[in-house]
Amino acid sequence: MKMEEKPLSGPDNTRLEALMQDIYSELVEDACLGLCFEVHRAVKQGYFFLDETDQDSIKEFEIVDQPGVDIFGQVFNQWKNKECECPNCKRLIAASRFAPHLEKCLGMGRNSSRIANRRLASNNNISKSESDQEDNDDLNDNDWSYGAEKKSKKRKSDKNQNSPRRSKSLKHKNGELGTSISSDPYKQYNYNAGISYESLAPNEVRSLLTTQCGVISEHTKKMCTRSHRCPQHTDDQRRAIRLFLLGPSVPTLPDVDGDGFDVPDSQAVLSRLQWEDSPDISPADSASSKASGNHSDSRRPKKKKKPAVAAVALSMSGGGGGVNLMGVSGAVSQSTISLSTKKKKPKAAAAAAPSVSTEARQVRY
């Protein structure tokens, strides 16, 4: 048969037309039935009339179109000049300042802990420097027991490093100074991570500068307590600070070459140097010769700064030396050396002379 869209020819035509109509009406009825089922279900389930609102609601929620008022009928600046009573302190606070006031008043929220820490630190600065001598003596007496040592360690870190008392502690407690220096990192965890150089004695300034970056921040006027390799400050800055604080005669950073040799040091200093180098260098030898070479250079300026502190330096080398080294050598050697210095630390404190001198021989090449 021919394929045509138009009515088909012949007697089949009527039959097919009739068939066509049948099919059509069947389809339409199907559609109607489908609709009825849908509606019936909606009625029985209760969602049929949901799209209709009653008159009362329509009146209630009509869109408002007046000047000075939004479409809900609310005034814009209504609470701007109102005052609210704080439930904590019972004061009347302006509405726009209410939320920050609550934050501080209740002690919750992001900034309140920071502010509180800052206040505590500055209070400590003031109050701790006036603390009783008796109290400290008691602390001193507890040094040799392990548990108390922990406590005293903590108190040391809490105590302000800037106070004039610190010079006393330097003389009295050899063993403890190492801990106090190593507790310097504690300072970093304070929010107030810096020291005000004005309150330090020159001794303390020097000692600080040998272990820490020391660059004075413009905002806070405090010395940076990070290591010599702190990324925030350059070596130039560190040099400038040292120049500024200690005077031009004193050489600057431990990593400066050749400075050490010009030092008019006494034999005592040099021998002390030997003692110090050994615990740190011998394991470091395996790490890198450069490091040990620099290390001996670095030792000398450091020694110059603290001629009075002899035995202390031994223990210091364990902690402080590691820190210095970090400023000097590369990252890889740094980690190995610091590791080795840490291992050496307890040994160094109790180090016997013979072991020191034998190791010293290894250093000098």
Partner: protein, 95 residues
């Protein structure tokens, strides 16, 4: 008569087998919704419901009341288009 019946049966079968029936159904439904026929029908249903009462209306009620109106309310354009498609199908598949 037999022949007609057989013809009808075979055509129906072909419609279903090829999927043309479902396609036509979907087409019709879409067209009717588009032209507003469905909303009109819903309004009719609402009247029946209000008449019979929300709780007691049955499917039968709706069908009986609404289907004849539905058949009549189908727009001509939709009707013509559908018929055209069926004719095309028939001319393709009629033996």
């Amino acid at each position: 008569m037999n022949k007609e019946a057989r013809l009808k049966a075979s055509i129906n079968q072909k419609l279903t087998e090829t999927g043309e029936r479902d396609r036509l159904k979907e087409l019709l439904r879409a067209k009717l919704t588009e032209c507003g026929w469905k909303d009109q029908m819903k309004a009719q249903c609402k009247e029946v419901i209000k008449e019979k009462g929300l709780e007691h209306v049955t499917v039968e009620d709706l069908v009986v009341e609404v289907t004849p109106k539905g058949r009549a309310l189908v727009p001509d354009s939709v009707k013509k288009e559908l018929l055209q498609r069926i004719r095309g199908f028939l001319s393709q598949h009629a033996s």
